[in-house]
C-alpha cells in the first residue's frame, strides 16, 4: 500500500468516526494534542486555526476540526496518533478487550 492510500484511509476512518459519533472532536484532540498539532501542522494551517478562533472568539475542538479536517489530520499528524484515537473509541464502545487509555 502506498502512503497516499494509507493517508486516504485514515482520513476516511476519522471522518466516518466523527460522522457516526464513534468519537467526537474532543476525543481527537485528546490524542492530537496541541503539542502534536504544533509540531506537525504546517505554519499556514496553524495560522488558519488561530484566525478562525479569533474570528469566532473561542477555540473549541469542533472549530479546530473545521479547519484541520480529517484529510489534513491524516496528511500531517502521525497515523499512530490517529489510530490511537480510533482504537480508544473502539475500546470505549466495548469492541475490544483493551484497556481504555
Amino acid at each position: 500500500m502506498s502512503q497516499d492510500q494509507r493517508q486516504a484511509w485514515f482520513a476516511r476512518v476519522v471522518e466516518s468516526g466523527l460522522q457516526n459519533q464513534i468519537f467526537n472532536p474532543s476525543d481527537v484532540l485528546a490524542h492530537a494534542t496541541p503539542d502534536v498539532l504544533a509540531t506537525h501542522l504546517p505554519p499556514e494551517l496553524l495560522s488558519k486555526v488561530l484566525q478562525a478562533s479569533l474570528t469566532a472568539g473561542s477555540m473549541t475542538p469542533e472549530r479546530v476540526l473545521e479547519t484541520v479536517t480529517p484529510e489534513m489530520l491524516a496528511r500531517h499528524v502521525p497515523h499512530e496518533v490517529l489510530w490511537a484515537c480510533i482504537a480508544a473509541a473502539a475500546a470505549r464502545a466495548g469492541l475490544t478487550n483493551q484497556v481504555v487509555p
Binding site: 492510500q5 484511509w9 466516518s16 468516526g17 464513534i22 482504537a87 469492541l95
Partner: protein, 251 residues
Amino acid sequence: MNVKAFFVDALTSALDLGIARPDDVLRHVTPDTLAQHLPRPLWARLLTACLGAPRVDAQLVIETIGLPNLAEHLPAQLIWAVIADVGGRALGHAQDAPVVVAKPRTPTTPPPPRPLTAPPPPEVVVAAPRPTPQPMPAVGPDIPAPASAALADLINELENDQPAPARSRMPTAQRFRQSNTGIGRLGSAQRRPQVAATPAAGRPARRGGTEVSDESVGAEIAVDDSQLVDWSSAEQTQATDDDFTDLGRKR
C-alpha cells in the same frame, strides 16, 4: 453512535484504497462464523453466486454478502478485529488483533512485520571500465585417460569417426524369473545316476588303440530284418537315454 455505519465506511474505504483485501476480511469472518450469524436468505444468495461463478474466492464472498450485511449480522467485535488488523498493518505493526472466532481454531503465526518503506539502496560505486581481456589460448584441461577399455573404444570411435571394433559382450544376467514348473532341473548339468553297462563276456568293453582284434573282419553276423532301420525315411532319431540337457537351454 452508529457503529455499523462506521464499520462499513472503514472497510469499504480500506478495500477501495487497497489497504485491505477480501482475504483479510475472511481471515476473521470465517465460514463457520458466517454459518452462525448470517441469515439463511443471505446464505442462499451466497450459494447461488458461488455455484454460478467460475472461481470462488474471498472477493466473491464479500461482494455477494456485502459489507453492510456483514456489519449488520456479524458481531461487532469481529468486524472491529478486521479493522484493527488493517489499521495495525497500515501502521506497519504486526497483526496484533486476535482473531475473534466462535470456535477455537488453530492459531496461525503471523509473518514478521516488514517495514513499509525500505531504506534507499546504497550508492553503487562505478569503477573505471576495465579493458576487454584478450582471448586466452585454447588450452584444454588435463583430462585423465578413461578408466575402462569400453570407454576408451567409444572415445576412439568418436575421435576417429570410425566404427570401433566389436567389443566383447558380457553375458547379461538372467532377465526373467524362472518358472516353478521344475523344468529347469531337467536342463541342469546333473544327470541321473545310471547303471554301469556290463561288458559282454569274453571280450573287453573297449579296445585300446594298439589292440588288435582276433576276430575276422569279414565275419558274417546274423541280423533279423526286423532289426533293420530305414534311415532314409526316419524323421527323428530316437533318444537312447534320458539326457535332457538341451531342454533347459532351448527354453
